[in-house]
């Protein structure tokens, strides 16, 4: 099996685990943990998609040179995308945590089931 297949599977599994945590755990903090695992899973997925077997990082140093670059490097685009995605992930996680803190301050509970004042 090739590396990319393994890491592809890992990314899927990680996303599913994260999703399971997000959907099943009552504790708000752990829901956020689940979310961040899901996020990490998507990052691995993106990087994997850019990977090409036996190619090097997309940095044109002396080892790569300037000729026939496209034969030597992995795809740089997903890597650029994932940089953005990671930062976005951090932003979302931080904001969720701020929310969690505020919710806890209001009701002294981390159970998501306790925040049901609005419904129907």
């Amino acid at each position: 099996m090739a590396i990319e297949i393994i890491s592809l599977i890992t990314s899927f599994v990680l996303m599913l685990i994260g999703l399971y945590g997000l959907l099943s755990d009552k504790n708000i903090i752990k829901i956020i943990v689940g979310f961040s695992l899901f996020d990490t899973g998507t990052h691995i997925l993106i990087v994997t998609i850019g990977y090409l077997k036996g190619k090097t990082a997309p940095i044109l140093d002396n080892a790569v040179g300037l000729t026939d670059v496209s034969q030597k490097i992995v795809d740089p685009i997903p890597q650029a995308l994932v940089l953005t995605a990671i930062v976005i992930g951090l932003a979302v996680t931080a904001l969720m945590l701020a929310y969690a803190l505020k919710m806890y301050q209001a009701k002294k509970s981390l159970n998501i089931g306790d925040y049901k004042t609005l419904k129907w």
């Binding site: 997000l22 829901i31 998507t42 997925l45 919710m103 009701k107 998501i112 089931g113 004042t117 609005l118």
Partner: protein, 1042 residues
């Protein structure tokens, strides 16, 4: 023309945003104005593009970031679509900031920055052509949204925000996966390049397209995976809810529009299903809401669902796609923002507390305008959008979709109009303090809504045939609403007369009859208005809306004009009816039946247009697909107005509780609109030998039974106006029956009945209405002996009931004579017998009416009453002259009418010999009868008068109760419950079985809604689960098709 590049919207805004992050107290002070300046700049930039592109002063502009061509760099496109959407975004953003002035000030630069960036992100997602870039700015937008939700203090907003973040986190994940796989399979992130790749799509690419589309759809809150959104609508600051509903929704829809270029046929099909399910489901659940903002949330979700459905249903290549989409979108945009903004002014959340608007006419007017725009009434853009949508769907043969849309719309009408009723009618419990900054945006959006309505009307096919002059008169009356009533009355009467003058010249005989009924009748029933004191705010605009609609109905030459007029008339009459003191609920049920009927008509018009070109009214006679169904739908639709059996339950309340001069308007005049419609389809059906025998046969039966049930209902009434209202049901039953015969004699009968009913019902309702106004009661047992106090009213009522009962010499008799001829010639003996029986019942209530009001004992408290106002008597006596003329010389009308009808029904005509009418079965000389009986009457009356010289007046309380003591005061009135005996025999016929049926239907939908909405448990995690379930379910269904 040198235009500012759209990139500056982003550069200037972000630069300013970053600058606002600088520390310092001075900056804090000016930051709000800085924000406003930037928003103004953005608005100006997008508007200049809109102007330039709309007038084709320039072509679309592509912005290549970093100077490289796409797909190698990210590009922005400013075309006409983008200019429209960004203008919408920026204008609402600007006004939204004005509206949120105090909260933005209070929350400081941090909050202002977030607001600014939200708007920027929306601009970018509209402009960008790069999928990943759109993802990034969608994320910017959703983070900013999460920040704006907590502008509202308190745990509700915080927990709503968290629910929102959870759901949008999952959605964003799906989108990201979709994007990276689309890159994997197509090698590009640029939408246009990917679309070019389309032919080589592999299955994997289809799945990634699915993920991308489903996540954008999920952002648009499809039912039922949208609990998080509803909480946000409810808990956020109303200023932000407005933005969320009208602006974010709009921008996201545009993203879906862009991405839909990637979709396959199958996906479009799913789009339409998802949209329709959302539209119907969300509106069903909306019916149970009592919280205004949550209700608006449901409605928002529904409207967006409808737009998604449009995206899926109408091919974008269709020349009308854009105008349908735009028409619906712009209504939602203006109306939803406006309503959310008003909700922030009203503050209280319960729907009933919106009655506070009653004291603020401007705000109330705007509120109602927004509600009507959402429910798709003319002249708002949604009306034209929905109209064209129905036509396009018919052209596709997609009747199921039309039905779904109409059902969803109907649910929406139910809750929105109920709410409007509360605001118009309930006693205000609190007073509003309105800040100018909050009113200005609402006002501007109201103006925008009307402007957009006019614009859209001009853009759809045949929209330019709509005559807006009646509406202009309504607008003038609205602006003059501060004047005293009599001035407005003069204006209204002149305007009505002017309509009539305009219509007369090219009208044929049939139309002239209706012009007289609608417009001359209108003038006559407006006259009593001179008696009314004060300003009668809102009365004249409503009345002119109704009469204007009626006039246009006659004028209509195509289906659109007809439907437009029909709806205008409906709204006008609704506002008239709801003016009565206890009319809230009755006006509501009137409106439900009317709207239901209107939707059936709309559906039928759709069927009519199928396979035909154009939309002229003549198409009614050349229906190509499902002609029987179309005709039946039209008939039922019109019968909601004529209150035929099964559809009549709204009428007694609506007519009975209406104001004294409104009852004659709606009863004598408005009901004839339904008759007009029925005549229209009967004419279209062709003559006696038509293809719809079964339909008219059924209608005949319905007419007969309606006559019976209406008249039976009338005899048990103690309320004078309700008695007349039930009598109207019965009379309209006769009319329906007569026209349904589809014969020469039948139609002559029908017209005679129509003219008679117009005259005598106007007389009776005017007379009784005036008396009710004077005595302040509707109950007949509280009246009595008024003959001496109100002799003129007595004579009017007497003539009215003689006409009604068909007693010679008045024209009612002529109607009967024609009727028997027609029945016998047609051979509808059994139905005819029922109608005959109903006629005898009419005697009973006629007697009751005149006896209990004018004869018998005068009540103590009425000792000092005087004759009713001259302004009520005047139209009555004018009409009495009309009755006399029609009775003495019916040939004046019936002769030319017969001539016209002979083109349609050549067989078995009525022939005239001078004033003598000859039929196969006999003759009738109305003039002679009139003279003979008139002379006899004078002689007999003189003799009676002569004989009664010696009559001894009896003292008032000189009466004997045969040893019984009356227990309740009304029992002293002889005619109280006079027909109780009949009730035992025939009461089952008027038992409210039909009412029970309708309330059962209502309960069914309400409890279904109530049951389904329990999935919105309030648990944020469950909402995330819904999102995942939704995705999985749609995916699995989708997978089976690829």
């Amino acid at each position: 023309m040198d235009l500012i590049s759209p990139i500056y919207i982003i550069a200037v805004s972000l630069g300013t945003g970053f600058f606002m992050g600088m520390p310092g107290k001075n900056l804090q002070r000016i930051s709000f104005y800085l924000l406003m300046a930037v928003l103004l700049f953005n608005t100006a930039v997008s508007l200049q593009w809109l102007y330039a592109l709309a007038n084709q002063l320039t072509g679309p502009m592509q912005v290549f970031t970093a100077g490289f061509q796409p797909p190698f760099s990210i590009n922005l496109l400013m075309g006409l679509n983008e200019a429209v959407i960004t203008s919408m975004v920026n204008i609402a953003g600007l006004l939204g900031a004005v509206y949120m002035y105090s909260v933005l000030k209070k929350i400081g630069t941090g909050g202002q920055v977030v607001y600014l960036i939200l708007l920027i992100s929306l601009n970018v997602i509209v402009l960008s052509r790069d999928i990943f870039n759109i993802f990034v700015f969608l994320e910017v937008g959703s983070i900013a949204t999460a920040g704006l939700i907590i502008f509202q203090k308190g745990i509700k907003a915080v927990s709503a925000g968290f629910k929102y973040m959870l759901a949008s986190g999952v959605i964003a994940g799906l989108l990201l996966i979709g994007i990276i796989f689309i890159y994997r399979f197509t090698g590009s992130l640029n939408i246009d390049t990917i679309i070019q790749e389309n032919p080589v799509f592999k299955q994997g690419a289809l799945i990634s397209v699915f993920l991308i589309l489903i996540s954008v759809i999920l952002e648009l809150k499809p039912f039922p995976a949208n609990g998080w959104a509803l909480d946000v609508y409810q808990a956020s600051h109303p200023g932000f809810s407005a933005i969320l509903s009208s602006v974010i929704g709009t921008a996201n829809l545009y993203v879906l529009y862009k991405f839909s270029g990637l979709a396959s046929e199958t996906l479009f099909y799913y789009l339409s299903l998802i949209g329709l399910v959302t539209f119907v489901g969300s509106n069903l659940l909306g019916m149970n809401q009592d919280n205004a903002r949550r209700l608006l949330g449901y409605s928002s979700v529904g409207q967006i669902g409808l737009l998604v459905a449009v995206l899926g249903l109408i091919p974008q290549a269709n020349s009308n796609f854009k105008i349908i989409f735009f028409g619906l979108l712009i209504s939602h945009y203006f109306a939803k923002a406006g309503l959310f903004w008003i909700s922030g002014i009203v503050k209280k959340s319960g729907l009933k507390s919106w009655s506070a608007l009653r004291k603020k006419p401007v705000l109330l007017f705007l509120f109602i305008s927004f509600i009507l725009a959402l429910t798709g009434f003319p002249p708002f853009p949604s009306f034209f959008g929905k109209w064209q949508l129905v036509l396009e769907l018919s052209a596709q043969g997609n009747i199921a979709a039309i039905i779904a849309i109409l059902v969803g719309s109907f649910f929406e009408v139910v809750y929105l109009l109920r709410w409007a009723g509360y605001a118009i009618k309930l006693e205000p419990v609190s007073t509003l303090k309105i800040k100018w900054v909050k009113l200005i945006p609402v006002l501007l959006f109201g103006v925008g809504l009307y402007g957009a309505g006019y614009f859209v009307s001009q853009a759809i096919p045949y929209g330019n045939t709509i005559n807006f002059i009646p509406l202009a008169i309504v607008a003038v009356l609205l602006l003059l609403d501060f004047l005293p009533a009599y001035i407005k009355n003069i204006i209204s009467i002149s305007a009505t007369a002017w309509f009539a003058y305009l219509l007369f010249p090219d009208a044929g005989t049939l139309k002239i009859i209706f012009i007289v009924i609608f417009l001359v009748g209108g003038i006559l029933t407006l006259i009593p208005g001179f008696y009314m004191k004060g300003k009668r705010e809102g009365f004249y605009p409503s009345a002119m809306l109704m009469f204007g609609g009626l006039a246009q109905l006659i004028e209509a030459e195509n289906l659109l004009q007809f439907f437009f007029a029909w709806e205008i008339m409906t709204i006008g009459s609704y506002f008239l009816i709801i003016r009565g003191k206890k009319s809230m609920i009755h006006a509501f049920s009137y409106m439900l039946f009317s709207v239901g009927g209107a939707y059936l008509i709309l559906l039928a018009f759709g069927l009519v247009s199928m396979g035909n070109t154009g939309i002229g009214l003549e198409l009614l006679s050349q229906i190509k697909y499902y002609p029987g169904i179309a005709m039946a739908l039209l008939a039922v639709g019109f019968m909601t107005k004529t209150a035929s059996l099964g559809l009549h339950i709204w009428l007694p309340g609506a007519h009975g509780e209406a104001e004294s001069d409104v009852s004659p308007m709606v009863s004598a005049i408005l009901l004839k609109a339904g008759v007009f419609g029925l005549i229209l389809i009967m004419l279209a059906a062709g003559g006696e030998q038509n293809n719809y025998q079964w339909l008219f046969y059924t209608l005949g039966w319905i007419g007969a039974l309606t006559a019976l049930v209406g008249n039976l209902g009338a005899i048990f009434q103690e309320d004078a106006k309700r008695l007349l209202a039930y009598s109207s049901i019965g009379q309209l039953g006769y009319i329906l029956f007569a026209f349904s015969m589809m014969s020469h004699m039948g139609w002559l009968t029908g017209f005679t009945y129509t003219i008679n009913h117009f005259m005598f019902k106007a007389i009776l309702f005017l007379a009784i209405g005036a008396i009710v106004l004077k005595l302040k009661t509707h109950n007949m047992y509280e009246m009595g002996g008024l003959i001496k106090k109100m002799p003129f009213s007595f004579i009017a009522v007497l003539i009215g009931i003689i006409t009604l009962a068909g007693i010679p010499p008045l024209s009612g008799f002529g109607g009967k004579w024609l009727f028997y001829n027609a029945v016998i010639l047609k051979g509808w003996y059994f139905q005819g017998a029922i109608v005959f029986f109903a006629g005898t019942i009419a005697f009973l209530y006629c007697f009751k009416l005149i006896y209990s009001i004018f004869l018998g004992q005068l009540k103590d408290n009425h000792r000092n009453v005087t004759e009713v106002s001259f302004w009520f008597l005047l139209p009555q006596y004018i009409l009495i002259i009309g009755v006399m003329v029609f009775s003495a010389r019916p040939d004046i009308i019936l002769k030319p009418l017969g001539a016209t009808l002979s083109n349609i029904f050549p067989a078995e005509q009525l022939t005239w010999n001078g004033t003598t009418a000859l039929s196969k079965l006999g003759y009738w000389d109305a003039t002679t009868i009139f003279m003979v009986i008139g002379i006899m009457f004078v002689i007999l009356f003189g003799w009676l008068w002569f004989m009664s010289r010696k009559a001894q007046p009896v003292k008032q309380f000189n009466m004997v109760y045969s040893a019984e003591r009356p227990e309740r005061p009304e029992l002293t009135h002889l005619s109280h419950n006079i027909y109780a005996g009949y009730n035992k025999a025939l009461g089952f016929l008027v038992a409210p079985g039909i009412t029970a049926f309708w309330s059962y239907a209502t309960n069914f939908f309400e409890s279904a809604g109530n049951f389904i909405r329990r999935i919105y448990s309030g648990n944020g995690q469950s909402y995330a689960i819904h999102v995942v379930i939704y995705t999985v379910v749609v995916f699995i269904i989708y997978l089976s098709t690829i």
